[in-house]
């Protein structure tokens, strides 16, 4: 059965007509063309499809599109604060070599954003725990940890 879903995506009101069984991930990727969010497993194991819904990180493959009705969804396409301006995390990921194949990167960036929004001064353990639902198979995580720590420091400095 088709349903009309009205929601906010990256700050903009959007609507879409979706099957009631369609996942938020498929709706984002196929119906709205927001392919930055990746499908690594489609069963909630890998975290590649992490988006933020009403401030909480969500595996978009595990949420139905109809469940997003009236809610606010943030995806990788909305992480940049402005045209030609990068989020400090994006910049740090480039400088520190935190992205190799890049397939996990959008999900990890969204999870890291949530982590730093909640906890601006995370310990190493906080970062490790925060990313425990996101699989990266290329980097050994070392450079991802470095990038998140660096971004946290830069964001803190920018606030003060």
């Amino acid at each position: 059965m088709k349903r009309i879903v009205e929601l906010t995506i990256n700050g903009e009101p959007r609507d879409m007509v979706v099957d009631s069984c369609r996942s938020l991930l498929d709706a984002l990727r196929d119906d709205l063309g927001l392919t930055g969010t990746k499908k690594g497993c489609d069963v909630g194991d890998c975290g590649a499809c992490t988006v933020i819904v009403d401030g909480e990180p969500v595996n978009a493959c595990l949420m139905l599109a109809v469940e997003a009705e009236g809610r606010s969804v943030e995806t990788i396409e909305g992480l940049q604060p402005g045209v030609d301006v990068l989020h400090p995390l994006q910049d740090a990921f480039m400088r520190y070599g935190a992205s190799q194949c890049g397939f996990c990167t959008p999900g990890i960036l969204m999870m890291a954003k949530k982590l730093l929004d909640d906890n601006p001064r995370p310990t190493d353990e906080d970062i490790r725990f925060g990313l425990s639902g996101n699989i990266c198979r290329c980097t050994g995580y070392t450079k991802i940890f470095d990038a998140i720590k660096a971004a946290a420091i830069e964001m803190e400095a920018a606030r003060s």
Binding site: G97, I127, R128, I135, R137, C138
Partner: protein, 768 residues
């Protein structure tokens, strides 16, 4: 590889700097387009019906209900696809592959093999239609273990090949006199080693899209490391002229070796698109990446070595048996490379090796980082540790005594250049103060008395090309545009390593322009020069040298053009950082843009040159030092700290090289401790084909890694001495961990993965 060729030294401007990779801005913004992100109008979705039986003949297959299902556009079975015997592993000019596959056959050889394919207007409809296909099987006796498959009278899985379920004739290598060597030995060690079936688990599931145009040309997007090999085999099997197949691949979500096969779904996708005259997309589920993907060959190794009391190794006798799974794929290459590698690493004049590779009714094993050498060096390195124990010697000392050195014969048959392994090992010993570590106070922490700590060393070496198995060719085209910018065209795949950035750095350095002025075009077989594929740790070494050659040629031409404009001879000018200047009078200068642009009757122009390079081989080296904590109550082994010391020759991009090493360690910790793709020994069914049940090290599991890269033994065969790095780390870390576990609890494990159950059982047996 030529020992007399000097390696050019220079004051590097770009090489050796961690410039911003050309692919990462798109990756952090979500704009990077992967194959699965491509959407064509009218695109159908393809799905594969997979057998729920490990070995059977198909008696009948009825697709009538599926074809009648609304939304279904085509169904393929073995009755309506071309029957062409073909290679799975698409390596060219190579004896190391086996023609044993059909697109679809009337026989099933493993649980999960495709028996039919459907194209429909949605993924859901295609999936539902699969259930409507009725297949009647005649079950055949199946074999799941190489030992059983190799027995006389075992059910035969293929009609082709040497018979007896062998994928290839046994690989035999004899050097010196092994029996005489053993006769000189003061003691002999003998052991059986084995390795599980780790799966590469790249984050991007296999995916392809096929689209035919009105001229019967196939455009094919696919996540592959070997786009030109895909083009070649697709054309051959589908009966098309080569240029009627165009393969496209932009960003790839990892591959780690496994995406260098020609997969069944790729043929089926092309055929479904042909039949429906509509684009068709086929995307694996995560489950399918296990079942229909490629894993590392499980291996059983019998190893016997003779030693003198001073630690000299006098004889090595080794038999290796690799499990190919249901098809040959890379089995021959893996067997040859893994067996041949065992001639080296630790010096021994008398060597007798025999490598076999056997079909079983299990999912296909293929290329995966380490290519047969993970298995053989795990055995060699652990037995070296055992010898040290027997001698009462420090394993570091024994390894230092025996590691290969300059002039020793490498597995490729060439003399080794430089003392790379010795330098890496010695460097780690010095940095860690290894002697002090060995003699540390081993009293357990009273707060955590059940934790035992241990340190171990693992050594490895690995070639930066597939030579001599494959005589490789690297190609590059470099263009200097009329505005002074530079375009590099390369067929090398960008599977996430940063290879294109390294190639652009090499071009900028050699040509004398800024890195930002070099753009890279890749991933289109209609446009870029032919490439053998991204594998064998060779892209920087092989394609990097070709790119340097091409850049050198355009540099000469740019200087000639600028000399004409500056009215001097080319010998009087130089080119650096995008500027041409008179050497004795640097004020007389022009930019490359000015040199290329129009002036006084000389029209603007492009300069284009190609580089083609056919290398032999170089070897990279590494010694890994690992600290583990073994919990004697739970059996859990935690890797706490790793100090990997690598010799990669000249480093082109330090951060990218470190990233390769750190990621390789992650995967190596996985296969050593937790990762094993398990096949049920009664049915052949996959038991853990998913990312929760297949246990990989994640953020909470990673040790502190303090990567050390030495430019210890640059190789003149690579650009300014650069060698490979991709596969090395995954080989060294395994034995380092196994040896560290022995140091912690005094138990010698000779297999992987070493699970908590194994540890607890061994501790119990030790206590009894």
């Amino acid at each position: 590889m030529n020992m007399t060729t000097p390696i050019e030294q220079r004051d590097f401007k770009i090489v050796g700097k961690s410039v911003r990779r050309d692919d990462v801005l798109e990756k952090v913004t979500g704009e990077a387009e992967y194959t699965g992100d491509v959407k064509l109008s009218g695109m159908l979705h393809g799905k594969i019906k997979r057998a729920a039986i490990a070995h059977a003949r198909i008696k009948s297959i009825d697709v009538s209900k599926a074809l009648a299902y609304p939304g279904v556009k085509a169904v393929l079975t073995h009755e309506n696809v071309p029957r062409v015997l073909h290679y799975g592993s698409p390596h060219p000019r190579s004896a190391s592959c086996t023609k044993d596959q059909y697109i679809l056959d009337d026989k099933v050889r493993f649980w999960g093999e495709g028996v039919a394919a459907v194209a429909a207007i949605s993924e859901e409809i295609a999936d539902e239609a699969l259930d409507l296909i009725e297949v009647e099987y005649e079950p055949l006796p199946a074999v799941f273990e190489p030992e059983d498959a190799a027995q006389p009278g075992a059910p035969l899985i293929h009609d082709v090949g040497p018979g007896g379920n062998l994928v290839l004739d046994p690989v035999r290598i004899n050097r010196g006199d092994v029996d005489a060597g053993f006769a000189q030995a003061d003691f002999v060690l003998e052991g059986v080693f084995s390795g599980g079936r780790p799966h590469p688990a790249y984050m991007e599931p296999n995916v392809c899209i096929a689209d035919w145009d009105g001229s019967n040309k196939l455009t094919f997007w696919t996540s592959t490391q070997t786009s030109f090999m895909v083009r070649g085999i697709l054309a051959e099997v589908l009966g098309l002229p080569l240029t009627k197949v165009r393969v496209l691949v932009d960003h790839m979500g990892g591959g780690f070796g496994a995406k260098q096969d020609l997969f069944q779904h790729e043929f089926l996708c092309a055929l479904l698109a042909k039949q429906t005259r509509r684009p068709v997309k086929m995307e694996f589920s995560r489950h399918e990446t296990f079942v229909a993907g490629r894993s590392r060959h499980p291996c059983k190794i019998w190893l016997k070595q003779g030693f003198k009391n001073d630690g000299t190794l006098v004889a090595r006798d080794m038999k290796l048996a690799y499990d190919s799974g249901a098809y040959g794929s890379h089995g021959p290459g893996v067997t040859i490379v893994g067996t041949t590698a065992a001639t080296s690493l630790y010096r021994c004049e008398n060597v007798r090796l025999e490598g076999r590779c056997v079909y079983t009714n299990t999912p296909i094993n293929g290329a995966f980082r380490g290519y047969g050498v993970v298995q053989s060096y795990y055995a060699l390195d652990i037995q070296m540790d055992e010898a040290a124990e027997r001698l009462g010697m420090d394993p570091a000392e024994l390894k230092l005594k025996n590691v290969v050195r300059a002039g020793d014969i490498a597995p490729s048959g060439h003399p080794i250049l430089g003392h790379g392994l010795e330098i890496c090992l010695q460097h780690g010993i010095d940095v860690l103060d290894w002697k002090k570590l060995r003699n540390r106070d081993r009293t357990p922490d009273p707060k955590r008395p059940h934790i035992r700590t241990g340190w171990g060393i693992g050594c490895e070496m690995h070639g930066s090309s597939a030579y001599p198995g494959i005589k490789e060719q690297g190609n590059a085209t470099v263009k200097v545009n009329e505005d002074g910018t530079v375009t590099l065209l390369t067929g090398a795949a960008g599977l996430g390593t940063g290879a294109h950035t390294a190639l652009a750095q090499i071009v900028a350095e050699e040509l004398g322009v800024r890195f930002e002025d070099v753009g890279t075009i890749h991933g289109d077989t209609d446009v870029v020069p032919w490439d053998i594929g991204a594998f064998a740790s060779h892209t920087t070494y092989l394609v990097g040298t070709a790119a340097k050659m091409a850049a050198g040629k355009v540099r000469t031409a740019v200087l000639e053009r600028a000399a004409m404009k500056l009215q001097v001879s080319p010998a009087e000018i130089d080119l650096s950082e995008g500027k041409v200047f008179v050497i004795t009078d640097p004020g007389r200068c022009m930019t490359v843009a000015q040199a290329m642009g129009p002036s006084r009757g000389i029209p603007a122009a492009n300069i284009v040159a190609n580089g083609t390079y056919e290398p032999t081989k170089s070897y990279s080296f590494a010694a890994h030092f690992a600290e583990v904590h073994v919990d004697t109550e739970t059996g859990i082994v935690e890797v706490k700290r790793v100090i990997p010391v690598h010799d990669v020759g000249r480093v082109i991009h330090p951060i990218a090289a470190q990233g390769q090493i750190e990621g390789g360690i992650q995967q190596g910790i996985g296969h050593t401790l937790t990762e094993d793709y398990v096949i049920d020994k009664k049915t052949g069914r996959s038991l853990n084909a998913g990312l929760v049940d297949y246990k990989m090290p994640l953020s909470m599991d990673m040790p502190d890694i303090e990567t050390i890269i030495l430019e210890a033994a640059p190789d003149p065969g690579g650009p300014w001495g650069a060698k490979g790095v991709g596969e090395d780390p995954i080989i060294a870390i395994g034995p380092a961990i196994a040896n560290a576990i022995h140091d912690a609890i005094g138990v010698r494990f000779r297999h992987y993965p070493i699970t908590p159950e194994d540890v607890l059982k061994a501790l119990r047996e030790k206590a009894a």
